[in-house]
Amino acid sequence: MKLVSFRNHAGETRIGVKVGDNIADLTAGLERYLVEEAGTDPLCAIEVTNERMPASMLDLIKREEEGQADLQLTVSYINKIAQKGKTLFSPSGGKITYGLEEITLLTPVPQIPRTIFNMEYNYPAYERVYGTVPPDHGTTAMFMVNPETVTGPSDYIVWPATATEVASAVELGVIIGKRGKRIPQDKALDYIFGYTIVNGITAISILRGMGPGRHCLPAAFYFTRAMTMDTFQPVGPFIALKDEIPDPQDVEAELRVNGKVVSRGNTRDMRCSVARLIEFLSRDITLDAGDLISTGAIGTFDFPPEAPVKVGDVIEAEIGKIGVLCNNVVA
């Protein structure tokens, strides 16, 4: 199952599921289900639906298990009634099915507040390509960015005023589905709502140019500022639920700049697995439903994890099982 947030013809933000090449509005879909299959009074159905399948993805995710149960119910109903070439409506007249060309895809969780954890140096390629000192075993570097930094598919990455070099990286994004703390590795996957693609942008010149040389002043000191510049974290276009990705440690990824492959790798090379990252982070930090963990720039020795980009470039971050996230760099 692949979920989206989108803007419909009326300019409203909605949540949807991908059905073939179409998008079905989940809120309208549940409303129809309630009336047609559950015998709910049409007058009550809208209110019940807004509560159980809110048009805000963050609110849905925060319903945790109950929200996920309603999601399963709605999607199997939509799959049952969906017919090619036929537009469906809810009892109150809301459109259910849209062609992709009729809507604008947004980042899958456009709402705030939520916490964005960016993990770094989580692939051994860093040591081999850049000579980076590896983090301690079982740990990795973490920096947070503002949730407002997150943008969506087709949004622009705006070149910063204070940087001369900017790099892009493809990362597997993990969306937390349940609040938790001190989550052991063997339970960690239960806390995942789904997976998405992150294009992690970093102003790499900031890491170098702000202190007395790399040998003394830790580049990592400036990481947070270098990553939380406006527009620096495109995320999307879909959230693939766990049925699509049963094993997050076997996901192929590729980053292309102007069509040319610059980074490539597989999540099996992660130093800390997704489950270990959740255990590591949640030791002293409460993770909330809707939080995003970006699990580190993916790459290999031959296709390094960080790709320099410049104004005018078109960046495509692809994770086969999720989709392609495309963004342009503008001045």
Partner: protein
């Protein structure tokens, strides 16, 4: 004005202003003002008050100039109306004035989720931590997640990952207006007020990872956000003191005490980057929003180190001149 958030007798989160030893509920007071002075019908006043003087401090701050105008109006109204031994109510029956002991004071902006902490902004801190001082005009910045934030008299929970915890006393700046590429000259226009900010970090995480070893990527700094992010690791409060009460934020004495013993002393005049320079520096490529917290770095002096190490069972007090005392309890 000393503004705070509090939980009232029915458990609702409200915003208030401290007047003498009382808290005045700003939303309820504004409702009363609208009816008695603004000529607004009783039936509309509550809704208007909820909108213009919302019970969420973050929502109020996000109203920027309009919120400030309403705040000034309601403050002068309620200051003149409130009497010592008389309980006032809004037209719809909400209690306006509370004794300070009747309410549970919360952190001033419980809804906050954008927290920026600055590192190495006093030279003494760099020396004591053995960290090189950044270039002139630059400094490091870290973020903390929202669950770090607690208020006055709340408990700091000892993290699972720590044997040693570091406390730093900092001046916290509350942003009052959205902006980007803010010049130093304009920066004070973007400040709403000030708070006492207590920045904690897990030292073990940083030390075990060779903090200060000086290798190329210095693993210690890999963990700076992790080390500073445990739940409850940034007490903030007790009130927001609006900037009109602080004529010069670069001349404030601070003292940090553990069980009453002074550990850290400093003055904000020793900041490497002043408040206005920090706003200019950080807003170059990142938008600030009203309600953001910018914690301006651990203070200290030669005689009183910027580094203090509390233990479970300790009572810690962070005090800044003109702003207040923020007291917290470290629990295992």
């Amino acid at each position: 004005m000393r503004l705070g958030s509090f939980k009232n007798h029915s458990g609702h989160v409200r915003i208030g202003v401290k007047i003498d030893e009382q808290m005045a509920d700003l939303t309820a007071a504004f409702e009363k003002y609208l009816v008695e002075e603004g000529g607004i019908g009783r039936q509309f006043a509550k809704e208007a008050a909820n909108h213009r003087m919302p019970a969420s401090m973050l929502d109020l701050l996000r109203r920027e100039e309009e919120g400030w105008a309403d705040l000034s109006t309601v403050y002068s109204y309620i200051r003149n109306t409130m009497k010592k031994d008389k309980v006032l109510f809004s037209p719809s029956g909400d209690k306006i004035n509370y004794g300070l002991k009747e309410v549970k004071l919360l952190t001033p902006i419980p809804q906050i989720y954008r927290i920026f902490d600055v590192g190495v902004n006093y030279e003494i801190l760099g020396r004591e931590e053995n960290v090189p001082i950044p270039d002139e005009g630059c400094t490091s910045m870290f973020k903390k997640p929202p669950r770090c934030i607690i208020g006055h008299e709340d408990e700091i929970r000892w993290p699972l990952s720590a044997k040693e915890v570091l406390s730093e006393l900092e001046l916290g700046v509350i942003i009052g207006k959205k902006g980007k590429r803010i010049s130093k000259a304009d920066a004070l226009d973007y400040v709403f007020g000030y708070v006492v900010s207590h920045d904690l970090a897990v030292m073990d995480t940083l030390k075990n990872a060779n903090w200060g070893m000086g290798t190329e990527s210095l693993p210690g700094a890999y963990y700076i956000d992790s080390a500073k992010s445990p739940d409850t690791f940034q007490p903030v409060g007790p009130f927001i003191v609006t900037k009109d009460e602080i004529p010069d934020c670069q001349n404030l004495n601070g003292e940090f005490r553990i069980n009453g013993v002074p550990k850290t002393r400093g003055n904000t005049r020793d900041m490497r980057l002043t408040v206005t320079e920090l706003i200019q520096f950080l807003s170059a490529d990142m938008t600030f929003y009203a309600g953001d917290l910018l914690s301006t770095g651990g203070m200290g002096s030669e005689e009183y180190s910027p580094l203090a190490f509390p233990q479970p069972g300790d009572v810690v007090e962070a005090e800044l001149e003109r702003i207040g005392i923020l007291r917290n309890y470290v629990v295992a």
